[in-house]
Assembly symmetry: C2
């Protein structure tokens, strides 16, 4: 892995652990094992790094979407939940949840990239929900988009809420969301 990639992944983990405004170039440099100005060499401004982190998430999501596009909707749903199970395992939260909280303090370029990522996410989930409904696997009254937002919201929120309540609530939430499909 290149230094550039290591910086992106480190920044991503720190952002989803402590929040965008709580982490600094020094924090990232310390984890990567280089000095602060070297991080600036790769990402002159914090906004450049923020954009790169979100682009990394978009690329990851597109890879998942591509490799699952011909699989049954039920499997795609499993894959969707697996994303949040991984996040929960790391005791972090998702990038949308983390950055939407700080949204009003983000540089315009980061804001736009985040909107782009959320569009990708909603589009993917909507699509396999629609497919699943058409073939009779899923059952819901709302539009596919609304149901997608309900699933995404539910998982986005439960990883945040679990920090305050009970780890067990995560599994209960996931099960309940499945029941309503």
């Amino acid at each position: 892995m290149t230094t550039r990639e290591t910086i992106i992944q480190t920044a991503d983990e720190l952002i989803r652990d402590k929040g965008y405004n709580a982490i600094s170039y020094v924090d990232i440099a310390n984890v990567v094992g280089i000095r602060k100005p070297s991080v600036h060499h790769h990402f002159p401004h914090k906004a450049d790094l923020g954009v790169a982190v979100i682009e990394f998430h978009i690329a990851q999501l597109e890879k998942v979407r591509e490799s699952y596009k011909n699989r049954p909707p039920a499997e795609q749903l499993d894959r969707f939940f697996a994303i949040y199970q991984e996040i929960k395992k790391q005791n972090r939260i998702c990038i949308v949840g983390s950055l939407s909280t700080d949204f009003n303090t983000l540089e315009a370029a980061v804001q736009e990239k985040l909107e782009e990522f959320s569009e990708h996410m909603i589009k993917w989930v909507s699509q396999f929900l629609k497919e699943g409904k058409a073939e009779g696997t899923f059952h819901f009254k709302q539009s596919a988009r609304t149901k997608a937002i309900m699933l995404i919201s539910g998982m986005l929120a439960i990883v945040q809420l679990c920090r305050l309540t009970n780890d067990n609530d995560f599994a209960l939430m996931m099960k309940a969301l499945r029941q309503e499909l």
Copy 2:
């Protein structure tokens, strides 16, 4: 309203607008119309202010709970949604959503107070859901606590997500959550 109360409410609004780690004593002082050291006079450390803000939310919630305790569950549900409609109108997010993102950077006292607030919230919603189910107004398979967490999660997340997508998603989400009761 006393200066102390004005500081608390200003801090609350700023926290739910920009996030805990993005706001400073100077920001608060500028809005209130006093100087930074005067804010320190009322709240020596940022943690004191954080705790006070959450205690303010607990007190507000208890007032609502008390005044609605003998009303029908359907009305209590309406009151629950009204909380988030108010938040949405202000283009802010809820205190739990805001602070849970920054949770790992919060002082221990603030973390504990936030846990306390989320307990209150879950307890209230669970209670009127349980009542509503018993009298046949609500219908759900899960435990009242799980369903409460689903409602809270849904609203917590949609105010965050709406910052990135469409304002219209808020109403759709609320309607969908109602349908599943």
